[in-house]
């Protein structure tokens, strides 16, 4: 029944757009909320009734061959959590009913793309679903229709097209090598000819395409413009999961299941990861725009995931997977809070803010949880995933990269403390006296995400044994 994650939203979308405007606009939010909530529940439960059974009625017409493992569960869980948070933000921030309805449509399309990416085991199908997310992202970024939004969207679409062309060329080469596009067949063909020039070329092109999609240095130029220019609910989705599903989850999956680890690939991943960690952290230090600072922080945190993968060991990959999930949670929390601040103050300029904790106590307190988890402060979730990555780098002999990861953690703590002090601590800034706490919808979303940061960290041994460790089955081909 995993195919229901594609079929229900797709047919639901068609029904929502039937010419019954008032009724469909009223139920669109609840349909999307039920969809994402169900995704969260079935991803946590791993229940065989849902995942292993098939519906005979559906099987008569649809025979989609999806495959689910523990990495897919974690990705689907992240998709559900972030999509639900983005939907909540959209409900309270997009005042125009038509625009809100359009955004919900796009959110459902993006969730189809991300769920497809998490469940396919075929490189061409993966490419198709990456394109689904790319189309939805581009429209979300451009939807404000001002100069900066169009600039951000244009940069994104240009780089995204280059990445797509590279990935498509790689897929063509891989079909020539193996005659098939399934992960298993490709892995077999590439393992049989490790020195093949065509295989190396395909690996290089595909990985390069994914690095562009993931906004990893040196291909990160589009990311801060896109995240900061997009409307707040779109920023939550883009920063929380969308970019990572199409560029980072795919990188982990393809590297482990198709191309396999090799010394040149590990070097590329380690270098790109370290460059991202440092570039993102240093750039975040000097930002005045709240959302732009968080965007650079995302580049830095994605760098950790890539470095963990570059370690080329089981521990490194598990650390990368765990940080992928943690980053989805704490970055979504920070972007939800930035949306709440933008909604109440009308600005994202940190130089005009100050003392908002006294006016927005829930937003301020949950923001502390978000930034402490991002900075890797124990016992919050971010600490454990960063620790796993650093230990993996150290044990695999990449000690300089381990040192870079530790140093960047200190810089992360620095810029996030500066953000917290400038936005939430101290005396109330001039013109901010009348600011009130965010809508209860924002508060519930932020509190749930903050709770997740704490619970994942405090119950780390349980989470590690039950959720993270089983993900190593991706090494079994």
């Amino acid at each position: 029944m995993p195919s229901l994650f594609i079929l229900i939203p797709l047919f639901g979308l068609m029904i929502l757009n039937l010419p019954l405007k008032g009724l469909m606009r009223a139920i669109a939010f609840w349909f999307a909320a039920a969809l994402f909530f169900t995704e969260i529940i079935v991803s946590i439960s791993h229940h065989p009734i849902f995942w292993n059974n098939s519906l005979e009625v559906f099987d008569t017409f649809f025979t989609m061959d999806f495959s689910i493992d523990n990495l897919s569960f974690l990705a689907l869980l992240s998709v559900g959590i972030v999509s639900l948070a983005s939907l909540t933000v959209a409900r309270y921030m997009i005042a125009d009913r038509d625009h809100r309805f359009d955004f919900i449509n796009l959110l459902i399309i993006a969730s189809i793309g991300m769920s497809g990416i998490a469940m396919v085991r075929d490189i061409f199908s993966m490419y198709v679903f990456i394109e689904v997310t790319a189309v939805a992202s581009f429209i979300m970024i451009a939807s404000r229709r001002n100069a900066s939004a169009l600039e951000g969207a244009f940069k994104y679409i240009m780089l995204s097209f280059i990445a797509s062309a590279m990935m498509l060329a790689a897929v063509a080469l891989l079909i020539l090598i193996s005659g098939n596009t399934s992960f298993t067949a490709l892995h077999r063909a590439i393992s049989a000819a490790p020195t093949s020039l065509a295989a190396s070329l395909a690996t290089g092109l595909f990985i390069c395409g994914l690095l562009i999609k993931g906004g990893i240095v040196p291909f990160h130029g589009w990311l801060p413009d896109a995240y900061s220019a997009a409307p707040a609910p779109a920023s939550v989705l883009l920063a929380g999961i969308l970019t990572k599903a199409s560029g980072v989850y795919t990188l982990i999956r393809i590297t482990v299941s198709v191309f396999g680890f090799s010394s040149p690939l590990e070097k590329v991943l380690l270098f790109a990861g370290a460059a991202s960690v440092l570039t993102g952290a240093f750039a975040a230090l000097v930002q005045e725009d709240f959302k732009r600072m968080l965007s650079y922080s995302s580049i830095s945190q994605i760098g950790y995931i890539v470095m963990g993968l570059g370690a080329g060991t089981e521990l490194g990959v598990l650390g990368a997977i765990f940080h992928f999930f943690n980053h989805a949670v704490f970055k979504t929390l920070l972007f939800v809070n930035s949306a709440a601040v933008e909604d109440k103050t009308g600005t994202v300029d940190m130089s005009r803010m100050g003392g908002l904790s006294s006016r927005m106590p829930v937003t301020g307190a949950t923001s502390v949880m978000g930034f402490l988890s991002t900075a890797g402060v124990p016992p919050l979730a971010g600490f454990w995933s960063k620790l796993m990555i650093i230990i993996a780098l150290w044990l695999s002999g990449h000690r300089i990269y381990a040192a870079i990861a530790i140093m960047a953690g200190v810089i992360t703590l620095g810029y996030l403390l500066m953000m917290q002090r400038r936005v939430f601590f101290g005396e109330v800034a001039q013109g901010m006296e009348a600011v009130k706490e965010a809508h209860p919808g924002f508060q519930i979303a932020a509190s749930a995400l903050a709770f997740l940061c704490i619970a994942t960290g405090v119950f780390f041994p349980l989470i590690y044994l039950k959720i993270i460790l089983p993900a190593k089955e991706i090494f079994l081909h």
Binding site: I6, L7, L10, L13, F62, T63, M64, D65, F66, D98, H99, D102, F103, N105, L106, I109, I112, G113, G116, V120, D122, F124, S125, V128, F129, E131, V132, V135, A136, F138, I139, A142, S143, R145, I175, L176, I177, G179, A193, S196, L197, A198, L201
Partner: protein, 152 residues
């Protein structure tokens, strides 16, 4: 194909560029027929030359036309920027044909025996749904981005 692709990028009018894109797709279709891939050719013709051109033309109809002066300025800038593009493309093509890269694979034979229904519905059903989602995304994009123009 290269000439029509270059014309698409360089021409002044958006509408002519959309037609140039359709022409490029039509030539790619012919190449695909020549390479014994009729199925890919049919899809290239129907989706790229047909559907996408229709979407582009309807989108362009909603945009504000530029003045003659603006068009001349933009095309001058564009010419300066892309004047070396045909030369680079030519040299790159020549280099790739002369280099004889040791690409160690044999071209698999085309499989024309499967008809469209078998390939799309039995072999690539997942991709079919992905493509429907892409088309829906494009349609929502046009509705969303041009709603204001419609309102005005």
């Amino acid at each position: 194909m290269a000439v029509s692709a270059l014309w698409t990028v360089m021409c002044r009018s958006l509408l002519k560029a959309a037609i140039g894109l359709a022409l490029t797709s039509a030539i790619i279709t012919m190449l695909m027929f020549r390479l014994n891939s009729p199925l890919a050719a049919v899809f290239e013709l129907s989706v790229c030359a047909g559907l996408i051109t229709a979407v582009f033309v309807s989108t362009i109809s909603l945009t504000k036309p530029l003045t003659h002066k603006e068009i001349m300025e933009i095309s001058r800038e564009r010419f300066k920027r892309f004047v070396y593009l045909p030369v680079i493309l030519g040299l790159l093509g020549l280099a790739l044909t002369r280099l004889k890269l040791p690409l160690d694979f044999a071209f698999p034979p085309a499989a024309p025996e499967n008809d469209v229904r078998v390939i799309m519905w039995n072999m690539r059903e997942i991709d079919l749904f992905g493509q429907i989602a892409v088309i829906l995304g494009g349609a929502f994009g046009i509705v969303m981005l041009f709603r204001e123009a419609k309102r005005r």
